[in-house]
Symmetry: C2
Subunit: 221 residues, 2 copies
């Protein structure tokens, strides 16, 4: 007999995905969806208000506060609440940051329903769950970066992120300098630092990174 059902909070800014997930989970008689949120801040306020919450299922790219920040805040205040990340992408920096933030699980959206349920079961039993693709990514990264010599933090400063956003919006160095009220020389310096931090070769790499990590949104027609 089921002692009590697993209480889940869902967060995704795509309503349809949210609806779908909800149905998948509600089909299970040992899972109960106790809340839904559309952005990071909403998640946090709901976590505060919901006692006995077992699992929070988070999309990485959410308005207001992204999955990484939300995870950190949840884990610092309610470490017993499990956090499962559901993401479209599989970028090494993501995985790294999320593991550091204290995520308990991470699966891709192109995983199936069965994997989702497996992940949830793992989490309630206190085990972490990382999907096979994620595991592969971690392995690769682990092999390459000899862990010790290069800490290689891919954390851009706020200013750098600002520059990245402008670059991705097709601004030139001169235009960026204008908008930020700084010298073009400085923008150049930022660009150089960004290239080396992200380990990309040129603007193309920066833009790709910006879109993939959600530093800029895929929307803006």
């Amino acid at each position: 007999m089921e002692a009590k059902s697993i209480k889940v909070l869902l967060a995704d800014d795509h309503e349809m995905i949210l609806d779908g997930l909800k149905l998948i989970l509600e089909q299970q008689d040992d899972i109960e969806v106790v809340g839904e949120a559309y952005d990071g801040e909403e998640v946090l306020s709901m976590v505060r208000r919901l006692p006995e919450l077992d699992i929070v299922i988070l999309d990485i790219n959410m308005p207001k506060k992204d999955g990484i920040e939300v995870t950190k805040e949840i884990k610092s205040t309610y470490p017993e609440v499990k956090v499962l990340i559901l993401s479209m992408y599989n970028r090494k920096e993501f995985v790294k940051n999320l593991v550091e933030a204290g995520t308990d699980g991470y699966i891709l959206k192109n995983a199936g329903k069965s994997e989702l349920l497996r992940a949830i079961q793992a989490l309630v039993q206190g085990e972490p769950y990382y999907g096979p693709e994620i595991t592969k990514t971690m392995m690769k990264t682990y092999q390459k970066s000899k862990v010790f010599d290069n800490p290689m933090d891919v954390n851009l400063s706020e200013r750098e992120k600002e520059v990245v956003r402008l670059i991705a919006n097709e601004a030139s160095t001169a235009e960026i300098a204008d908008k930020l009220f700084i010298s073009p020389h400085t923008v150049d310096s930022h660009r150089k630092n960004i290239l080396s931090k992200l380990d990309v070769k040129n603007t193309a790499g920066v833009v790709k990174y910006a879109l993939q990590t959600g530093i800029i949104k895929g929307f803006d027609l």
Copy 2:
């Protein structure tokens, strides 16, 4: 009483989304999911094999053949089958191309379950259905482009798409020329044509377009 249920074919390369959609639709007693596909070619072969199919629900970004191509092929052979596009993005070129391809409906993934059902109902009654955001996009574009003077086709040729992919993968003009066994001059020409076709200012714009339209995948760590 229901004369007969609406037969739907689902296509999306993200299994979880597929599972979710399936559940949403199967909850409705007048809708029947008669097939699921993970890529464009699969969709086409299923459409051929499934008689009496009413609606195909398509993601734009699919492996092998994208939503636009699939729509065109379906519409040319089976014009009575309704095509509903489900997309993450709302880019004006998308909407334009899809309308031209003969789509019957287009909604965003951040629309809700209710809108999905409404769209399906509209389609079976022979009416087109475009979500509110899409309509807004169309209005905007319509206002700006005085329709007559600039045809402004945003259809990149295959070769151009190849170049775009390489650009987005951080290749320089010289490197692209090498890989494609053509002169750097030619690559330059392609770049220029791409910039003007996409109406973007620089590489950043090209990469953004590539990612947003799925010309390149968000995956490749």
